[in-house]
Symmetry: C2
Subunit: 347 residues, 2 copies
DNA sequence: TGGCTTGCTGTTACCGGTAACTCGCGCAAT
DNA sequence: ATTGCGCGAGTTACCGGTAACAGCAAGCCA
C-alpha cells in the first residue's frame, strides 16, 4: 500500500538506486535528477520504510531510555533533557520504566538492545551485580548510565557523588542541632548505598554514634516512603530529624507523619534529595539536595551519541559527576524566607 | 557480529526456515527438532533481529504514544496505564512529547507512523483542523485519541465530557456563593474550548452574566498559568473565584498569587481539573474535577490493540467517555475535613 | 586517435527474517 | 503392489532499503 523507492523509480524511469541517492542527498547525482526525484517523491507522499533502512544500514536512529519510575518527576526532567539533545541529532526515544524492579529492567534492556542504536539506563541493579551488563558491553552494546550508576562497570556515566549527597543532607541536620538523626535508606541500589554511606560518614565526622535502629529500610518510591514511615511510627519512637534517601520517599514519609498529626519542619526535621519539581510547593516545602537534571540528561545523551557515532575513545569511558547544592526550605525546620528556598552551593 | 538464524541453521545442519519455525513455535515441526534448535539458540544467545522481522511481517510490535507534556503527571499516569495493557500484549512504547506544539505534534506523528503498528495520541490540535489526521486515517493509519480528542474525526477515542468538566467546576464555585467567576481558558485545543463552553453554560444556567474580561487566555502548562496570572494581577482586579482549565495552570496561577501575597482558598477560590498526583499535597490542596487516568489509558490501549489486530469494526469507531467527580479540597475555600478531599460523584 | 579522467547512473548482492510452495518418505488403505 | 495422505523439512522469492562495484558517455590531454 505505501509508496516505495521502486514505485518512484518506475514512475520516473530511473533505478531504485538513483531514487535512494536523491532522497539521501548523496552528492553523486546531478541536481536536475535529484530535483525531479524529490518532486515526484513529495507528490506521491513517499515515506521511507524505517525497518528496511534499519536492516540495511544497521542503524535505527532509536535510543532506548530506561528509568525506574515514570511517576517521579525527577526522571521526567532528565528525559526532557535527553530529548533536547537526541531530537536535533535525529534520534527518537523509546522510553521504558523498570518500576524499580531488577528483573523487569533486564527484560527491557534485552528487548531494547535489539531495536535501538544505544541505551540510556538509570539502573536499579545493586552495585555488585554487574555481570549481565558486563557481558552486554563486551558484546558491543552501547549504553550510558545516568543517575544510578555502577562504578565497577566500564561504561560512560553521568551522576552525582551520592556519598556527598548523604553527607550534605546529614550535616545540615547536625548543624541544626540534631544529634539523633534517622535515615530512610532506600533499597539495594548504588544510590541508596552511597547516600547511606554519606549519612554514616557525616555522623562519624561529628563523632556521633551510628545507631542501627535509627535506620529503616525503604524503597525509592513515594508509596514505599509512606509505608516505611507508617510502620516506623507504629512500632517505635521516630527520631526528631530524618534524612530520606530521595524526595519521593521523603514526601511519602511526610504524608504518613501528617496522618498521625506530626508536621515536618516542626515535629520532625526532614531532608530529601533530588529537588523534584513540586518540592517547593508542598504543604511543607521540602528541604533537599539538588543538582541539575538538565545537565544530567544532556550529558548522558551527548555521551551516548558519541558512542554511537564512534567518536569516543571507548578505552576509557567518561564519567561525569555533577555538582551539588543544598536547598533549604521548611521541612528541615530552618524556616527559609524566600518561597523558592535558600540555595547553598557545595562540592 | 550478532547470531542470526543462518548461524544456528549451519550449526545444526538444518535450513533457516526450520530454525525460524522452531523459534516461533510453529506447529509444523517435530518436537525433537524444535528442542534441538531452541537449545542451540539459547547456547549461542540468539536474539532475533527486530528490524528484519518487522520488514518481513510488516509488524513492529511498537506502539507510539504522543503526549503534550512529559512534566504533567496526569500524562505520566495515563502512560503507565497504557503500558499496563500493551506490555502483556507484547508491545513496546515509543513515547514522545509534543510540548503543546501543533507543528511538533505533526512531526512526531509522521515519524512514528513509519515505525509503529499504531499510535495513541493526546492531540494539541484545535478541534476544527482535522485535515492532516483525516488523510492519515484514510491512508490506513491506526490511531486512538486519548484525553484530547477531535469530535469530527472518525477515530476511536477515550476522553471525558469536557463541557461537563467546565460546568461542574463553575457550578461548584457558584454554589459557594460566588457571582463573578473568572476563567483561565487554556489554548485552542478541544479540551480548552469545551471546558470554556461548560463554564459559560454554568453561568447561563444560573442567569449570571458572562463577562469577557473575566476570561484570560492561557496555555495548559504550569508556566503558562503562572504567566497568565501574573499579568492578570498586574493589569486589573482579579475575581474572587477562578476556574483554571487544568491543574497545572491552576498550580501556576497559585504560585503567581502567592508571590503577591494572595492565598488560594482564602483570597481567591480556585478550581482546577485533572486531579494530578500532587494536588492533595500542595501548600493549598487543590480542588479539582477528577476522572480515572487509569481507565483512560487502559481503554485507549485496548482500543488500539483491537484496531491493530483487526478485531474492531472500523466502520463505527468507539468513543468512550469517562465519568467525572468533583474533588473538594481547600483551594476553593470550602475547607474539607479529610486530607484527601471530599469526593462527589457526578455525571 | 587512443587513453584516461570525471561525473552520473545502473546492476548485483545482501541485510535477516518469513510466506508459500515443493519435495521425499513412511504408512495405511485399496 | 499401487495409491493417497500427512508429516516434517527444504527451496525460493520477497519485504524495502543500501553498499560496492560496474558501465558508459563526455571531455580532456597527449
Amino acid at each position: 500500500m505505501p509508496v516505495t523507492l521502486a514505485d518512484i523509480a518506475r514512475e520516473i524511469g530511473v533505478s531504485k538506486m538513483t531514487v535512494s541517492r536523491a532522497i539521501n542527498n548523496n552528492p553523486l547525482i546531478s541536481s536536475e535528477t535529484r530535483a525531479r526525484v524529490l518532486e515526484v517523491a513529495r507528490r506521491m507522499n513517499y515515506q521511507p520504510n524505517q525497518h528496511a533502512r534499519a536492516l540495511a544500514t544497521n542503524r535505527s536512529y532509536l535510543i532506548g531510555v530506561i528509568v525506574p519510575d515514570l511517576m517521579n518527576l525527577y526522571f521526567a526532567e532528565v528525559m526532557r533533557a535527553i530529548e533536547s539533545i537526541t531530537r536535533p541529532a535525529g534520534f527518537q526515544l523509546l522510553i521504558c520504566s523498570s518500576d524499580e524492579d531488577i528483573t523487569r529492567e533486564l527484560d527491557e534492556v534485552e528487548a531494547l538492545l535489539q531495536r535501538t542504536d544505544g541505551l540510556i539506563i538509570s539502573s536499579v541493579f545493586p552495585p555488585t551485580e554487574t555481570k549481565p551488563y558486563r557481558k552486554m558491553i563486551k558484546d558491543g552494546a552501547k549504553m550510558v548510565l545516568v543517575d544510578r550508576t555502577m562504578k565497577q562497570l566500564s561504561c560512560p556515566a553521568v551522576a552525582t557523588d551520592n556519598v556527598q549527597v548523604g553527607r550534605l543532607a546529614t550535616e545540615h541536620l547536625i548543624r541544626l542541632g540534631h544529634r539523633r538523626i534517622g535515615h530512610l535508606r532506600g533499597d539495594g541500589s548504588s544510590v541508596s548505598a552511597d547516600r547511606f554511606e554519606g549519612y554514616k560518614q557525616a555522623l562519624a565526622k561529628r563523632k556521633l554514634r551510628f545507631e542501627k535502629n535509627l535506620v529503616r529500610e525503604c524503597g525509592l518510591l513515594e508509596s514505599e516512603g509512606y509505608e516505611a514511615m507508617r510502620s516506623w511510627l507504629a512500632e517505635s519512637e521516630v527520631p526528631k530529624a530524618i534524612f530520606a534517601v530521595n524526595d519521593p520517599s521523603a514526601i511519602g514519609a511526610m504524608q504518613a507523619m501528617e496522618e498521625v498529626g506530626l508536621r515536618a519542619g516542626k515535629d520532625v526535621a526532614l531532608v530529601g534529595a533530588g529537588n523534584i519539581h513540586y518540592g517547593a510547593m508542598l504543604r511543607v516545602p521540602l528541604t533537599t539536595i539538588s543538582w541539575s537534571r538538565r545537565d544530567m540528561g544532556q550529558n548522558a545523551a551527548s555521551l551516548l551519541i558519541q558512542l554511537i557515532e564512534g567518536k569516543s575513545d571507548s578505552a576509557k569511558p567518561q564519567h561525569i559527576t555533577l555538582p551539588l547544592e543544598l536547598v533549604i526550605r521548611e521541612s528541615c525546620g530552618a524556616r527559609a524566607k524566600a518561597t523558592s528556598g535558600t540555595r547553598t552551593a557545595a562540592s
